[in-house]
């Protein structure tokens, strides 16, 4: 390959990635050369501008056809664009939260690193959305993971943060190794790392029982490894500790951006490879159809475990960790009940989850930073101290609980309908979902009682920093808009991305 072939690729379609990369590099240089006394907080605004420019460039690419660069190591198809949009919006909000983040002992000279490590993590996640090559997917996944490990341990003076980072590295390392072991079989038997060619090879080889068995093993290893990253039960044990110990903006990043990226890579690998492969010797059903029961189990256990254990949490971040496990379960329901609307349901739910969860984390960050503790009792009397903030938080919680009129309700409804509409209907899963939602009312409304009916410990008014205020307003607008008029989002999805039919092409 010479320079001409290299230049003949449409590199312009990687513009969002290049922008993020350039901004991260710029920030690291600025952070290095700016004088020590300079307040690094302004770097967050540069990061934010960078992300917004990347969003604009991505919107400029929306109506282009799907593009493949260097044998699919990078491919921009509608799937990639749709999920990249979610990641970018989520990262922009997280940067706003990080700007206003002020832990008790201060971030000191590490504030600059704090911002651009979010960007490298985001870059990894973005590459994961638009790659059709196993190696690139793996490197993107690791870029995201390693950035997250560091971010989780950023509060060096805080023992909880150190411990969270250590647990995250160990669990993340084990899950990486398991995923890779599965990937090595996938590569080995098909002889290629390109997902499309791999899928072709797999369909051709599936008549051989031994190959089928080994592909099945690889499927389980990849599924288990990735469900660590999604924090779905029974591989969730790291999530509560890590969410609790990490700095709050990092917790928000993990629960939104990292989780979205996890679902993206799961969809990419599993759907491309196992949807077309025959599941048994009779060749009637596809592999995914015969084995979707295992994904259903993960989903069911996640919903039940997440919601039930959340009931007895007193620490607000830990409670949200369990609630995020349950939400991962809801999204897995959509994946296991694979149908025509799966992509729509997953995309919409992730969007709604992003809005409501980031809004909630913005308020949590504000309250926990001002009271220096993370107990749910800190929310007592929030209504007296700051009625607007309390109202906003109430909306986010109602949305997380899935009350009609909010985006969370529409998201759950989509997944629910999707589960019932497939043939055969997933009635058990649907009823587990309802049961889980009902259980979740208890702990969500527990916070509500604290906020509205308990006397406040202090009557001190709460000052809302600009960054947090912006996130709350944005998330509130989105949650209500997509709750009342969900078609705005779904029409946008259909007009710009069709039905994702260039996913496998």
């Amino acid at each position: 390959m010479n320079l001409d072939t290299l230049l003949s690729y449409e590199w312009g379609h990687m513009a969002p990635e290049f922008i993020i990369l350039a901004v991260a590099a710029l920030l690291s240089l600025l952070d290095l050369f700016l004088p020590k006394s300079y307040n690094r907080r302004s770097l967050a605004w540069i990061a934010l501008v960078g992300i917004l420019v990347a969003v604009v460039s991505l919107i400029g690419l929306l109506d282009s056809k799907s593009v493949s660069i260097l044998h699919d190591t990078f491919r921009l198809d509608s799937f990639g664009k749709a999920f990249k949009l979610i990641l970018l919006i989520g990262a922009a909000c997280v940067i706003l939260l990080a700007e206003s983040y002020e832990p008790k002992e201060g971030l000191k000279e590490y504030r600059g690193e704090f911002y651009y490590l979010f960007l490298t993590g985001l870059l990894g996640a973005m590459v994961m959305t638009s790659s059709g090559d196993l190696i690139t997917l793996f490197v993107g996944l690791e870029l995201l993971s390693i950035s997250s490990y560091i971010l989780a341990g950023m509060r060096k003076k805080n023992p909880g943060s150190n411990e969270a980072a250590m647990k995250y590295v160990i669990n993340g390392g084990i899950s990486t190794a398991i995923t890779l072991f599965g990937m090595s079989y996938l590569y080995g038997l098909s002889g290629t790392t390109n997902l499309k060619e791999m899928s072709g090879a797999m369909s051709a080889q599936a008549a051989n029982g031994q190959f089928l068995y080994l592909y099945g093993l690889a499927f389980f290893m990849v599924l288990i490894g990735l469900s660590f990253k999604l924090a779905s039960a029974p591989f969730h044990m790291w999530a509560p500790d890590v969410y609790q110990g990490s700095p709050t903006p990092v917790t928000a990043f993990l629960s939104v951006v990292s989780k979205t990226a996890g679902f993206v890579i799961l969809l990419r690998i599993i759907l491309t490879l196992f949807l077309t492969m025959p599941g048994d010797d009779t060749q009637k059903l596809s592999f995914l159809e015969t084995h979707s029961i295992y994904i259903s189990c993960l989903a069911g256990i996640s919903i039940i475990a997440g919601n039930v254990i959340a009931l007895r949490q007193r620490n607000i971040k830990r409670m949200f960790a369990y609630s995020s496990i349950a939400h991962a379960g809801y999204i897995l329901v959509a994946i296991s009940a694979l149908g025509y609307f799966t992509f729509d349901a997953v995309w919409f739910y992730l969007l709604a989850y992003l809005l409501m969860n980031l809004g909630a984390f913005a308020v949590i960050q504000l309250i926990t930073d001002s009271s220096h503790s993370e107990d749910i009792a800190d929310f007592a009397g929030l209504y007296r101290r700051s009625p607007l903030l309390a109202a906003g938080f109430a909306v986010f919680i109602l949305s997380l609980a899935g009350i009609p009129g909010t985006a969370g309700f529409i998201g759950k409804l989509n997944i629910f309908m999707n589960a019932l509409m497939t043939d055969p209907g997933h009635f058990v899963l649907a009823s587990i979902m309802i049961a889980g939602t009902v259980i979740s009312y208890f702990y969500y409304f527990g916070i509500m009682t604290q906020m509205f009916f308990r006397p406040a410990a202090s009557t001190e008014k709460i000052k809302v920093p600009a960054g947090i205020g912006a996130v709350v307003v944005l998330a509130l607008a989105g949650t209500i808009l997509f709750g009342v008029a969900p078609n705005t989002a779904l029409d946008f999805l259909h007009n710009n991305f069709g039905s994702f039919n260039d996913f496998l092409k």
Binding site: M1, L21, A24, S28, I69, L70, H71, T73, F74, K104, E105, K108, Y110, E113, L117, T120, L123, G124, V127, S131, D133, I135, T136, F138, V139, G140, E142, L143, I146, S147, Y149, I150, G153, M154, K156, K157, N158, P159, A165, Q210, Y213, L214, L217
Partner: protein, 174 residues
């Protein structure tokens, strides 16, 4: 089956590798465990030579038995260097784990023990390094560049996390 030189080499190397792994599990002194694993890493490099991946063998020796082992030893020396890894984990938990891992191992073994694929002529051993370079800088350029970002992030992260803050003697927090 007559024993060819390659077979003998394979048997020796894999025995060393497995013994290294078993010693890792069974030794008590932390330093000894790491040293035991160096043998595994080196014999894995030997296996790469058998599989006509000379470049990878060199990389394996440099990175695993060189860099990673050294930083692990540093980690041990800088923390509690004469630590013995005492084993008090519950017996039941251990048995459960062994059962689970053995189940996984057997399930995989059932799939691979007779995986017989007709050997095909390959050109991997001719100019191995050149082939890797060609592939790395053409087809796999995007992940290659991405790896540089990953290494940069890891470098910065490792520095800021491991650096001791010398200004003011750490005020203990609750």
């Amino acid at each position: 089956m007559s024993l060819s030189g390659e077979m003998i080499a394979f048997i020796l190397l894999s025995l060393v590798a497995i013994i290294g792994g078993i010693l890792l599990i069974n030794l008590t002194r932390v330093v000894h465990m790491v040293i035991a694993l160096v043998f595994t890493f080196i014999s894995v490099a030997g296996l790469y030579v058998l599989l006509s991946a000379e470049f990878l063998a060199a990389v394996q020796i440099l990175i695993y038995s060189g860099a990673i082992t050294i930083i692990m030893l540093f980690g041990i020396m800088l923390t509690r260097h004469n630590d013995t890894s005492e084993k008090t984990a519950g017996v039941w938990r251990k048995l459960l784990l062994i059962a689970g891992i053995a189940g996984f191992g057997l399930a995989s073994y059932a799939g691979i023990y007779n995986l017989d694929i007709p050997v095909q002529e390959t050109k991997l051993h001719e100019d191995n390094t050149r082939q890797i370079g060609m592939a790395l800088y053409s087809d796999h350029m995007i992940p290659f560049e991405l790896t540089s970002v990953l290494l940069l992030a890891a470098l910065i992260g490792a520095i800021i996390l491991a650096k001791k803050d010398d200004e003011k003697k750490e005020g203990e927090e609750s």
